[in-house]
Amino acid sequence: MFIGAIGCEPLQLKRVNLEHSRTIDVYKRNGGYDAIKKVLGGMSPDDVINEVKKSALRGRGGAGFPTGMKWSFVPKDSPKPKYVVCNADESEPGTFKDRYLMERDPHMLIEGMLIAAYALGARINYIYTRGEYRYLINIMDAALDEARSAGLLGEKILGTDFSCDIYTHTGAGAYICGEETALLSSLEGLRGHPRMKPPFPAVSGLYACPTVVNNVETLTAVPDIIKMGGEAYQKLGTEKSGGTKVWSVSGHVNRPGVYELPMGYVDMEKFIMEDCQGILNDKKLKAVIPGGSSVYIMPAADITGKGVRMDYEGLVAAGSMVGSGGFIVMDETVDVFESTKNLIEFYKHESCGWCTPCREGTDWLVKVFKRIARGEGRPEDAQLILDLCDNIEGKSFCPLGDAAAWPIQSAIKKFPEDFKRHLAPLTMQTETEVAAD
């Protein structure tokens, strides 16, 4: 598997291929902990937030919310403790970048969190890692111990008045705990159900205190922003999508991997066909899901020769989204009905059950898809599926409902042939029988 940068100097992936890259020595010898020194050497919390604002860094967890703005929502005058929580739940199908960032360069995350904690006035901070990534928790714990011994964590860091600690926390197998409010419920020791927003976590988050939840890759971008300045970082990318982005690539490509590209990289076709070395076994490209499973599927026709720019605006213009940046590449042998069935089964399994449209809707969709797969499809099933999606999308308590509907809606729209093939002439089965499946 490839791991490296293309089209730019590696920032996030600067050290990942060095020997012993996860040790504090290698980190320090390669520019590590210079940013926190600069911050503690005379920047005010507002200075830090301003640099992050200038950098046009947008959240890499999926929603793409401007990070500097999110930080500035934390009330300064609140007497309550404040928390920075790193979202390392990484469960979006097709996404595995955070895993390699933490495995190979854990100190970069620690430094990013330290800077965030300084900017927000947070004393205690958590890294919420999905339960399956136990080995990463062990790696992070070892790195945190190293940092503590080096005086970079704990009381009076580097001899200043800034004190801060970071702890790891484990999830236990629930995709929904990647959603920030569900993550906070889980961190409080409850079932991982999402919470109503507002109040947003910045105002009332962990233990009802002001909390910033950021993705791993968002936080690991921060040390470089401080070192080079927000403006220089933004210029690496585009006006609205600053800096570089780390993409995960899986599926039918010759060279899957973790790729760092400048935001606004041109273009998606070149990326797949040249950088990822084209499609396995010389097959033809059929479709790409570019942002983790929750975004619209793109047919090859929307990519080939279209000069799709790889940033937030470019992918929306091309009919999809950056999401978590997880490319799932599919060749001509894939049946999009089957691939969509696979995903709706995922969402059904991961629906937390809190609200009716998502809990019942995803369950019903799976029943319909399974019936069709058994060869009992009917021409009107396409409409039935779309109606079900319509009753989930925008009507669910949290975005997981939308995330379940979007891939299906776009698959039916973009690959009608793959669905028609399964929708045989009407059988005598009634709707009630379907529901009772």
Binding site: F96, E132, E188, L343
Partner: protein, 186 residues
Amino acid sequence: MSEQFTPNNPLPQEAKLPAEIASFSPAVEAEIDAHLAKYPVKRSAILPLMFIVQRERGYLDPPGVAYLADRLGVRITDIWEVATFYSMINTKPVGKYHVQICRTLSCKIMGAGKITEHCAKRLGIKPGETTEDGMFSLSEVECLGSCGTAPMMQIGFDYHENLSAEKVDEILDSCSRGEYRYSMKS
């Protein structure tokens, strides 16, 4: 604006714990104390502690649940409520080797189905079952963040990636012979 957080409310009545409560060695107790020290609210440690109970007792059994309720100062039902939400918390015994194969899209299109079939045939069980000798449990799980090295499976917390039938056989053989060594500390 609603205050959403309700810290551990004092129990309305004295909680009755079942007769049998799990107990652990001083080393494990120290490990549990270290987790509790990380949080301003004890209840936050519920998942880390569940993993420890599970590791020590094979699964989250009723005496283990009673221990957690006692240690965290919450009701027995609070523990069950959380335990049943998370797919990695086992409320029933699992095999000595828990083979978990990813079934999600990237793995699927790279041949996860064949790997699952192969394991099922070899072990003589379907996903969701445990072999009679209690050696193996087989599960199909959702994306584990190894999509670029698909197909993949986890045994316990260990990742095994870029799988082929031969590679699976090698791993399962070493389990059967009792030679498999977990590389992951849990």
